[in-house]
Amino acid sequence: MALNSRIQRIRIEPVINYAMSCQFCTDPPCVAVCPQKCMEKDAKTGVIHVNEDKCDGCSFCIRVCPFGAISLHTTRKKAILCDLCESTEEKEPQCVKYCPKEAISIKPVNAMSQEARKEQVLALIKGIEKEAKETQKEASAAKA
């Protein structure tokens, strides 16, 4: 886990590695709980912004986040979470760009479901193709 990273790596021995970050909840508990009212969800992008001038590091947001996606900056003592790299020069998610295994992606929910459907259909077709091939093979073997 890198220091002050906005996303977190979870490792559960022996074989699980997972990258966890803000899931952009529709009704985010962190926004609701913040006593300083310094967290705000961007209606357009879904990103939850922290007003660092107001944040006093009380960590209530960290306690209520069901994904454990928020952490406290080690020196600034402000809440930090994934902002899809809006705060960087690059303005687009760098983890997606640089993950060598292409293990991280960011997609709208409906795009995800569309992909899942496609995958399932392809798997189905593959099964049918395989069956067809095997039947053909058996048939030609029987002929021989």
């Binding site: 220091l3 074989v15 020196t75 060598p100 295994k101």
Partner: protein, 616 residues
């Protein structure tokens, strides 16, 4: 101010329970780079010659370079150094995982351990705060995996980097390793035993120290590019099938050690090949911190008594506990690797010790009773697993004997046992059958830490066909090639980065440039090679001071007199005269005299004036 480096050294006297923290001088950082280089200098300066490596007089050094925590791919590495209890000369072992990065963030560049704690302890460096904790709940009870879990649980922090020894280290096995992040080991030359001799169970690190880079902008752009390259064709082998791809490649060349190096091929090699492993055994590939390669091929034992066992299988572990011991049962190999990692012995030395014991058993030098009732024949997978435990536990006569390595065991057994003790300067040989690789034969023999493929990679020109691998010709050219790569590898081990990324740099200048951008010290490729040469020479001088002689740069008698009986290298042995000529050529290429002693001129040229007059 120097950037990159954290620059702090902690001198910990375990006998007196005293900790001193100081700054490493700028020249020291610049002239010796990091890891291996630092250790060569410090061991030369601080260690009394001739001491017993397992006595409190030995100094254990834990080191990082300037890169952990930066973007540089594979930079989360650390090295452990001391006088080796296995070889009696310069001992070094390097590992990765999360420890290098956590040590950097904890605020230390180097730790030097002196003396011996009066009771078992472990070190925890918590963001610059150096603490020595009681390890009585761990010592004799927990293996290295459990120790890691326990320390992380104790401080409620999963990111703590932990390097620990198992029972083999506690019991001073001279082939003991240090394990971190489960699957990574500082394996070679018995550094785990040195930790054990100091009553030191584990090293743990965490912290928030930030990393300052000299030229951040240029650095970021080159580092991001290097990450991409580290995920490109240069490292494909390690990402795809992993190093076990070697099994079938080596089989084709006749350099796959089989049955304790009696043969270089096996008709069952396919069973322990990278190809079959990928299809049948690998369940996950995992990476160290800061590494895009993910070379750890985690394999799961699927059936039989070892079902459920998981370990990271690489070629070296695979050949040693596999074909070299005549074992082709992946379930048993996976289990044996797990036991080595947990209880803390080096899988290469451990595997060669098993195959040595098997041959000794076959010859009647070891009896069934000596081996805890096990019929220790070549190919007995269950016997191999049992014998690994016997070596870690030291609870049988043969297990106890081999726990100190093959050279020690062969000396005790006497007769012709040294003939088939497959070691050089006490360190068991890695997975290359050397009568089929003549450049490697001399490269491995002259290595400063004993039988080792990672000092100069001399197998590569043989396998690529640069030289005729069956002949002892062109000694001068071979010698130059060995020297060139050896100097470069000394830098890699000082930076410390992973040798798997050696191919991602365009040239030496680029490799030097990353150092310059991070630290601010100017360095080009030519200067870098000089620094590498300085480090190799200094560690060599350390060996000479410890009594090294030309005759010690040799290989087991088997390679000279006992040819393989099948395969492409059938009938070939190493010609002793040709071998000695290649050694002389190597010494000459290094600017050393005929006896392998660096000349005054060479030492002066390398800025090692302080060594002059101190070589016996």
């Amino acid at each position: 101010m120097v950037k990159g480096y954290i620059g702090k050294v902690a001198k910990i006297n375990l006998t007196k329970d005293k900790i001193e923290v100081g700054n490493l001088p700028e020249e020291y950082l610049r002239d010796y780079i990091g890891g291996y280089g630092f250790a060569a200098k410090t061991l030369w300066d601080e260690l009394k010659p001739g001491i017993d490596p397992l006595s409190p007089d030995n100094i254990l050094i834990v080191n990082i370079g300037p890169f952990p925590g930066t973007y540089l791919p594979t930079s989360s590495k650390y090295g452990v150094f001391a006088k080796s209890p296995l070889t009696g000369i310069f001992g070094m072992a390097i590992s990765s995982g999360s420890v290098g990065q956590q040590m950097r963030q904890s605020g230390l560049q180097q730790i030097q351990f002196y003396g011996k704690a009066s009771k078992p302890v472990y070190l925890f460096v918590d963001d610059g705060d150096i603490q020595i904790h009681d390890a009585k709940d761990m010592w004799g009870k927990l293996d290295s995996w459990q120790t890691e879990d326990k320390i992380r649980e104790e401080f409620h922090d999963e990111r703590i980097g932990v390097a620990a020894i198992g029972k083999a280290g506690e019991r001073l096995s001279r082939i003991a390793c240090i394990t971190n992040d489960r699957n990574r080991q500082a394996g070679r030359t018995g550094m785990g035993a040195v930790m054990g001799s100091k009553n030191l169970k584990a090293l743990a690190f965490r912290g928030t120290h930030e990393i300052e880079v000299a030229k951040p902008k240029e650095w970021k752009s080159i580092a991001l590019d290097l990450i991409k390259r580290a995920n490109g064709p240069a490292t494909l082998k390690y990402r795809d099938l992993g190093t076990p791809i070697n099994t079938l490649n080596f089989q084709k060349l006749g350099c796959l050690p089989v049955d304790n190096f009696r043969e270089g091929t096996s008709d069952r090699a396919i069973e322990i090949s990278g190809e079959v492993m990928a299809e049948k055994w690998v369940v996950k590939k995992a990476a160290c911190s800061c590494c895009p390669i993910a070379c750890d091929h985690l394999c799961l034992a699927k059936e039989g008594p070892y079902k459920g066992s998981i370990s990271s299988v690489d070629f070296e572990s695979l050949f040693a506990l596999g074909c070299c011991s005549g074992v082709y049962d992946m379930n048993a190999i996976i289990k044996a690797i797990e036991m080595c990692d947990r209880d803390g012995i080096d899988t290469i030395s451990g595997g060669i010790c098993v195959s040595f014991a098997m041959e000794a058993f076959e010859k009647g030098y070891l009896t069934r009773e000596d081996c805890g009732g096990v019929e220790l024949k070549f190919g007995n997978g269950d016997g191999m697993v049992s014998f690994v435990d016997q070596m870690c536990s030291r609870n049988t006569k043969a297990g106890d004997l081999l726990s100190n390595g093959t050279r020690f065991a062969a000396q005790k057994i006497g007769k012709d046992a040294m003939h088939f003790a497959m070691q050089s300067k006490g360190l068991e040989l890695p997975g290359y059958h050397l009568s089929a690789l003549k450049t490697a034969a001399v490269g491995f023999a002259v290595s400063i830490r004993g039988g080792c493929h990672l000092r100069n990679g001399a197998y590569s020109p043989d396998q690529k066909g640069t030289f005729d691998r069956f002949k002892e010709d062109r000694p001068d050219e071979r010698a130059k090639e060995i020297k060139k790569v050896e100097d470069n590898y000394a830098i890699i081990d000082s930076y410390i980065i992973c040798k798997f990324t050696r191919g991602i740099y365009k040239n030496d200048d680029e490799m030097a440039q990353v150092y310059e951008l991070v630290t601010g010290f100017p360095l080009n490729g030519k200067q870098m090679s000089k620094v590498g040469e300085r480090i190799v020479n200094l560690s060599k001088c350390f060996n000479i001071r410890e009594g090294w002689k030309r005759d010690d740069d040799t290989l087991p008698e088997r390679f000279f007199s006992e040819p393989q009986t099948r395969g492409p290298a059938k009938g070939i042995t190493i010609d002793r005269k040709g071998f000695e000529a290649m050694k002389s050529a190597y010494y000459a290429a290094r600017g050393w005299d005929e006896n392998g002693i660096p000349t005054k001129e060479k030492l002066k040229e390398l800025g090692l004036d302080f060594v002059i007059g101190k070589l016996k």
